[in-house]
Symmetry: C2
């Protein structure tokens, strides 16, 4: 990265630096995720005041071009959009394309991106992402299922299929839902490439440019990308100990008309809370009264460890107001990308058209493979096995938290799901903890990624599914030590500053 400044031009130096970064991003020299030199270093190299670089970076950050993370550094986060009029084409001398001026204004979701990259880092212990543990995959069973379906109907599976899904899988899902008390017919099930696509299809079909979606806050970051990204309007629903705050929802519905209510009522991500049956009934009443569909994300339902099983919203729904999404990614294999939407037939018809326009249909081979695996009871057997492992890991994480975390931190005990939601003292910043812990190989998700608005900085989500028991204890211990260290260092600062503060007040 070579910066050049020219004091003779009279253009403020900070603008020169900002312009050069912008230019390097436009031409592709700098890419999203690339790191910029630290302020101090760049100031030294260019022989300018450190404030000049800070101002340049602040300018770029305000434009959404870069992101600074205390301690981690400054990274390219977006590409410039034309701020003034577009540059006129050079008609006499054709040159390369100025792509950045043509591309829609998009921000990379660093958490989503991080999740997709996380499995690449082999070292260290990741408590960051809610993924199954690959060591627990019943590979042989699955391989045999794939082999069997290819032998049995390979020519069908490799040819183009139906956009609504592989019919035996739709039937299987409907029958399984019926067993759990949810009356759904096979043609009320649409197979998708997982919950992320389900959310995207639902957005396409229901949400227009000026429509609002009511969404839990905090929630799954992929839902924030879909419903709150690109300037989409949304309404935040706070999440308490019993799920989304229904008093707030009631007030909102009296005044505004959201197109959808998105909720994860069972083992909520990231908080782990579950809405009780009375609250579910009230939510359904509110939704039908105002005729606002509920999107129930039921992806964690089968990872139930203790406490009573609460029926799904779809199971309690007497009005047909609920659209349920689910997938094989948490209980089975996320790499396959197979999920589904269960909804009234008219909704499925619309989603099906959207699915056709998106990508024709989901891979038939993977659909048939997961069907074969499920139908022969192998999925149920696998779920039983991972639940045994995960409940142990959850309990071990809870014990480790008791043992190693300071008294100032608090957390819940989720009855299912994949993670524990930890609250640190307000003065602590989970990003700083992550920076320190990742140096010793331990990562987790700072809570801020799960919020659609201005996030609190003192929350952390610790996943217990994707690391073995010794690793969990080791990781929690390391995190505890770091957090205790930060607290005591803050206390010291506070102790030193106190007299000053008091003097200032006097």
């Amino acid at each position: 990265m070579i910066f050049e400044i020219d004091r003779a031009t009279g253009i403020p130096l900070y603008l020169q630096i900002a312009a050069q970064v912008r230019n390097m991003v436009t031409t592709g020299t700098l890419k999203i995720g690339d790191r910029l030199p630290p302020n101090r270093e760049l100031a030294k190299t260019l022989g300018v005041n450190r404030t000049t670089v800070t101002t340049a970076y602040a300018e770029l950050e305000a434009d959404g071009l870069i992101n600074s993370h205390i301690g981690r550094g400054t990274f390219i986060a977006g590409v410039p959009t034309p701020r003034t009029s577009a540059i006129p084409p050079e008609r006499t001398q054709p040159s390369t394309m100025l792509w950045s001026a043509l591309l829609a204004d998009q921000r990379s979701d660093t958490w989503l991106n991080g999740m997709l990259l996380s499995k690449q880092s082999k070292d260290g212990i990741s408590l960051a992402h809610g993924l199954p543990h690959a060591d627990l995959f019943p590979l042989e069973d699955f391989r045999r299922c794939v082999d069997r379906v290819l032998r049995k109907e390979g020519r069908v599976l490799l040819q183009l299929g139906l956009s609504s899904g592989y019919p035996p899988l739709q039937e299987y899902i409907a029958s399984q839902m019926a067993l759990s008390g949810v009356a759904v017919k096979a043609d009320e099930v649409l197979i998708t490439n997982g919950c992320q696509q389900s959310l995207d299809l639902i957005r396409r079909v229901f949400v227009g440019p000026n429509d609002e979606v009511a969404i839990e806050n905090p929630t799954y970051p992929g839902a924030i990308s879909v419903f709150c990204g690109g300037g989409a309007k949304h309404i935040s629903l706070p999440v308490g100990d019993n799920g989304l705050d229904l008093d707030v929802l009631e007030e909102i519905l009296a005044q505004r008309r959201p197109k959808l209510i998105y909720t994860i009522p069972t083992y909520h991500n990231p908080t782990g809370v579950t809405m009780n049956i009375a609250a579910r009934r009230r939510l359904l009443e509110l939704a039908i009264k105002h005729r606002v569909p509920i999107i129930e994300d039921d992806i964690y339902r089968d990872l139930h460890y203790d406490g009573s099983m609460v029926p799904s919203l779809k199971g309690l729904d007497r009005y047909g107001v609920v659209i349920t999404i689910n997938s094989f990614s948490k209980v089975g294999f996320p790499g396959l990308r197979v999920g589904w939407i269960a909804a009234p037939r008219i909704v499925i018809d619309h989603l099906n058209i959207a699915k056709q326009n998106c990508d024709l249909h989901a891979s038939l081979l993977t659909q048939a493979a997961i069907h074969e695996f499920s139908k022969h009871g192998l999925l149920a057997k696998h779920i039983k096995r991972v639940k045994r492992a995960y409940v142990q890991r959850r309990d071990l994480m809870l014990e480790s938290l008791e043992k190693h975390f300071p008294a100032e931190a608090t957390w819940n005990k989720p009855e299912g799901g994949m993670a524990i939601w930890v609250k640190l003292p307000l003065a602590l910043n989970a990003n700083e903890i992550l920076l320190l812990s990742s140096e010793s190989g331990v990562t987790f998700s700072p809570g801020e990624h799960f919020y659609s608005g201005v996030p609190p900085k003192n929350m952390m989500r610790l996943c217990f599914t994707n690391a073995g028991p010794p690793a969990i204890e080791e990781a929690v211990k390391k995190l505890g030590t770091i957090i205790k260290g930060r607290i005591s260092s803050l206390k010291k600062q506070f102790a030193v500053r106190k007299p000053e503060g008091i003097r200032a007040l006097v």
Copy 2:
């Protein structure tokens, strides 16, 4: 389907009938694709004048709710959107949801839907869709590849992957493109779920609500859905014997600013024409002069039978103005849903973010399987084999057309691809031919599905890849007989009417 009319209400009978159909669609009793009773029959049942039913159906057709196809009948084609103010929620007595008022105004693309359904009909001969012949799939080879990758790295393939794709597949594609003279690096390749998704991702990243896309007319119906659906603006580019009309494009670019130019320059779908190298160079010059990216759909490239191989636009591109899309669906296995986009890195970065928001990533198992199959030369071997079969089928279709089609019909000889584009006399309607031919089990695609504007009715696309040689000859013979019959019947009508017409003129 039970209709009830009440003469006592004073509401015109045709409005009562229309309202009942609307209601049955809203409540889901009637679904998209369902057939309504024929005018005559319904009129008889209800004891009303036939004109009453015709008027009711015309009303519904004007609303986009139904589609009438001469001879085939009348079908539900959409759902009602609220025409006046939305019905106020019934606050005292909650009832079921009125979904249709909430859903975005979408029209089902009957051709796309038909393509996805076509393989379900086992009887008859389909020349309708550009699909590989499943009988030619090298099942054993492929099955062994799938088995091998699951044994080798099953735990990686079943876990969450990277949104940009399975890295060995990206590298393989880049290396293959390099072999054909297109310099592309692995990180300039994004793996998608096939060309349909590639188009959709490109639309997301480049096309805003008021942007125009310049698109060949006729073209691939899936592209029409993506770029011209839902009220999107587009500019039609006529297609001549040498591909898209560059004079028209030049004129358009002088006045308007399309965000993209979408073209299938090699073995164009549906016309089969290929743009020569001089035209390609001129297209590139025009695109860079006006800085409008070209989306090159290169999906038929490897199905080359004779004539010279013309380099791809991407291969000729000195400016970096071309984004190429391609897939394994035409040469390999459409059911797998694996395709790719090759573009400058900054474009790929943006598409990658869109891909994350869409569905996280493409199925890893299918990506690894097609990579294994390709890397060991099995794809190349398979392509060689299908090309031998397809060129024979094309030649047989051409011979059969000569033998069985009337002199009034004309067609081209495509040097590659999957179909022959036939022009019938203007007075003929390909939909009527299809209606007659499907009664004897022969289907094809009427040309109208490939047009974004008001389509000519006298074009037909006959695919030669997805039917065996005896079936091709049989199908063309049947079609020829029907077409000849229609022509002679029209001639007779014309002969009878001529005197009248002359009398009227006199």
